[in-house]
Structures are given as C-alpha cells and as structure tokens.
Amino acid sequence: MSVFDGFKFRRVYSPIHQLDPRVKFFYVLVMFVIAIMFNQLLPLILLFFIQLPFVFVAGVQREWVRSLRGALFFAIMIFLFNFVFQYFWTEYPLPPSPSLLEYSIAMTLRFIVLIESFSMFFLTTSPDHLGLALEQSHVPYEFCFAFTTAVRFVPVLAEEAQTIMDAQKARGLELERGNFIKKVKNYIPILIPLIVSAIRRSLELAEAMESRAWGATEKRTNLYVLRVKRGDYLLALISVLILIFAVYVWIFHREQIPLLTNFLAPLELTVTKIS
C-alpha cells in the first residue's frame, strides 16, 4: 500500500465526478493556499472538516481513507521533526509545552489537508477528463495526447513486466539472490526486454496514429467538450467565498486566532482548584 493508491481513479458516477476538472482544480488550489496561509491549529481543523462532505458525496471514502493511511508515515515524520527540531535546534529552545505540541500537530494537519484535497481531485477526475481539461486550457494537443496515452499504457506495461519476470524466472533467474549490486544486476534481464518492447510498441503506435490521419489539420475537433454547468458555478462560488473569508481573517484577525491550549488552560485551573 502506498500514498499513490489514494490517487488511482476508479470509474464511478457522482455529482463530484461530473464537475469540470478545471473548477475542481481551482478548489484544490484554494485549499492549498489557505492551508499555507495559516499555521494555527483551529483554521486547519476547519479546513479538514470542510472537505469531508465532498468525499461522502463522491462516494470515495474507502480510497480516500486509504490515501490518508498511506500518508501516515510522512505525517508522523513531519510531526516528530517539528516537535523535536523546535525543541532542540532553535536558537531559544522552547520547552516542550502544550503550545509546541499544538504547533506540531498543526503542521502535520496542514500536510494532511494538502494530501486530502489533491487525492480528492485525482480520485474523482477521470484521466480522460483531465486530458480534455488540459486541451481546453490551451495546452498543446501533443502533450495532452502523451498524457492520456501514458495513462492508458501503464497497466499494459505493468502486466508485461510481470510476464517478462515470469519468463526469466523460468530460466532460473533469482531476483533476490546476492548482495546489493548483484540484486540490481539481476534486473537487467527484465529491463532490457521491457525497454525493447516499449520501443517496438511506440513504433507500432506511431504507425497506427499516422494511418488515422494524425496531424491532418491544425484545428482538430474534439468529440467531447467540457461545459461549465450549474454545479461547477456553485463549487467555484463556494471556493471563492471560502477564499475571501480566509483572506479577511488572515488580514484582520490573524493575531486573534486562539490557541486550543488556551481553552484547556481554564479547565486545568478548575481541576487544580477542586483537588
């Protein structure tokens, strides 16, 4: 399992899947910018929860959770780094106070929010749609074609690599044998056929493309067009409102955002009083 599992598209239909990738990308960017703007825990928690409805409407909870779980290792690293570094290596070492703890959690949550929104985007956007969005954003068609073709051939090449591995194992190749250098060398009999076959494949692809009038006109038509619909306007509007609100808070009330530890403080006092 890896972080990337959380980015694999699965073909399902939901209102979120139907949205224009360009608008969705705008939303992701807004989330990204806001997450970078604030380093306090409270706004980041809000940011985390704001996105949950999208996940549920899209029905990709399972994949989404998997992507977060995949990111767990990095999240822990970020937490430890922040906590430990701040404690030992800053000029004026901070004592391991609750506020330092809160700061470290905030930094970790910032990372999680970023992963959350990007994985949301890739989980609900088909590569086809993405290619189309690129095309309609005036990215040269050659790049868009290269992108969708690459996505198309990833599973094919993965399967081919497996077959090649099987063929070489059947000739006595043991991939796990020997020291590190030997192990790397063991992969040569797999890499060479894979590369040769990829080259052969690309030649055949080029032939097929040529035979189907590749490059006939400058102005290619496209069977599909992305049209911005009501849902897209809605998402754009929500994103803009969130952004405006965030900027407003950042400019005028940045200093007033309370630390969560402050809420805990009176509680502690009451506890001591009773005892």
Partner: protein, 284 residues
C-alpha cells in the same frame, strides 16, 4: 474498375540490405475480397504499407514503380490524405488503440481530420453499430479481450468511411471463436457496404471461404495471383509452403488415388457437397 493498381513496385527499407518488394504488379478491383498470403518475411506487410503511404512517407527509403489507390498516386499524397480513402488495421490490437475509452478511440481519426462534432458523433455511432460493439462504448480498451479490441480497431478505421480496408493478420493473437466474429464483421463490410477488403492471413482454413481473389507473395515477389481455386490447387502453392485449406488438400490427395471431384473445393461446405455426390453416385 481497378481500385488499387501497382506497377513494377520495388522497395528497400532505409536500413535494409535486400529488396523488400521486387517488381510487384497487381490489380485489385472495386468490391473484391482479396486474401494476401505467403511465408513470413515475404513482403506482405510492406506491400500493405505502400497502399496507405506509410511506405515511403513514414519509413523513408526509395519507392520505385507506381502505386495508385482510389485514383491517388501514393507517392504524391500524404498519409492523412490517403487515410480518408484507405484504412489499415494492424496485427496487434493492443498497440493501435491509445485512448481511454472505446468511443474516444473510434473518434480519433475523425477528430484529426477536423470534422464537425455532430458528424463525428454520427459516424462513430454508425461504426460501433456495424462492428457490434455499441455496448462497449465507454469501456477502456485495455480491459477488453483481444477479439473485442480488434473489432474496436476495425471500427476506428471504419468510422473514417474508407473505400478500401486492409487488415494485416488481424486474428493472429485471437482465439478461433473471436477470430470467427472478426471475419464475419469483415465479410459484412465487403458484402453489405461494398468496401474492398485486403486481408493478410496465414490461416486459410478460416479465411478462404470469403475470398474471391488470392495473392501469394514470397521473397518480395508476387508468385501467384488469381482465383482462390486455381491458386490453392496449384503446385507452386504447396512448394512455397502456403497452408492451403484442408478441403483443397483432401481434393488433391484423393486425386492421387484416382478419385476426382467435379471441382476444387476451398471450404468444408463445398467439400462435403462434392464428396456427397461421389459417395451417393457410386452407391446407385
């Protein structure tokens, strides 16, 4: 009317040392179903590439002699101009589909030609319907079976409404039942739509029943060219090692023992019909 005509076609690939085509002169009439066969490396694929301009435009090298396809001199027209008139389907279905959905793949050629969207939609629907894959429309090609993929590849070419369709060993990776379906589709294109078909094939047992013209190539030359019965029954076909239909072979070895059937059978239906005559006649 001749739809394809080559005269003294001679060609060597840029890196090649020997002639890939040598003085090839053939004529294909409008509406024919041609089976092109012969040993591997005999120049069949190269000849197909000449028909739609991959040779010489894509591969380079010098092409001598003349090829005229649907009235266009191949040397003087680009591949994309020729693509409107002549479609080429390749052996490996996997490497000629590059989109993420069947529909998008079928539309690819038309998109390249810059045809209005409404017309693309109509032609794509039509091509999917004829090849019997309308229900696969939204599937990603790599999830389909080889036989289905090859039918998609045919639809991709068909959508451009060509007059001539060339298929280079389209069934060699496909199991017999899948192959049968592909042959049926090709036959329909030929019989119902009047598209001229050139089919490169080794498995003559399956393909020969559709053909009305057979060309055999070996070492870059055309060695036999004519009606299926004549070609399959000729001695040189056996010498070159063409896998003639078993029905024809049975005719030949029966003849060695003095039993002659009225004519040369090229498929099982004909053979059983002719054998029935002999068997029931002798009884009476």
């Amino acid at each position: 009317m001749a739809i394809i005509e080559t005269t003294d076609l001679t060609y060597t690939y840029p890196a090649g040392t020997k002639l890939s085509l040598q003085d090839v002169s053939i004529t294909v009439e409008q509406g024919e179903f041609v089976v092109l066969t012969g040993p591997s490396g005999g120049g069949k694929t190269t000849l197909c590439r000449c028909f739609n301009g991959l040779v010489p435009h894509f591969y380079g090298g010098k092409l001598e002699g003349n090829v005229v396809v649907t009235g266009l001199k191949v040397g003087e027209h680009s591949i994309y101009e020729l693509a409107r008139h002549i479609g080429l389907v390749f052996q490996n279905p996997e490497n000629q589909l590059f989109a993420l959905s069947v529909e998008k793949d079928v539309a690819f050629g038309l998109e390249n030609l810059g045809i209005p969207r409404g017309d693309i939609r109509k032609q794509v629907d039509w091509a999917l319907e004829i090849t019997g894959i309308t229900d696969l429309r939204e599937r990603p090609p790599h999830e389909l079976s080889g036989g289905q993929q090859q039918r998609v590849a045919i639809a991709c070419v068909l959508a451009m409404q060509p007059n001539v369709m060339i298929l280079d060993e389209p069934t060699s990776f496909i199991d017999p039942v899948g192959a049968q379906k592909i042959f049926d589709v090709i036959n329909e294109l030929n019989k119902k739509l009047g598209i001229t078909v050139i089919l490169v094939e080794h498995r003559l047992d399956l393909a020969s029943k559709y053909a009305n013209h057979v060309i055999v190539m070996d070492e870059g030359k055309v060695v036999l060219d004519g009606e299926p019965r004549e070609v399959f029954n000729s001695d040189s076909a056996r010498l070159i090692g063409v896998g003639i239909p078993k029905a024809t072979r049975l005719y030949q070895i029966l003849k060695e023992k003095g039993i002659s059937l009225k004519k040369v059978p090229v498929n099982s239906e004909e053979a059983s019909q002719l054998l029935r005559e002999v068997l029931t006649h002798d009884r009476g």
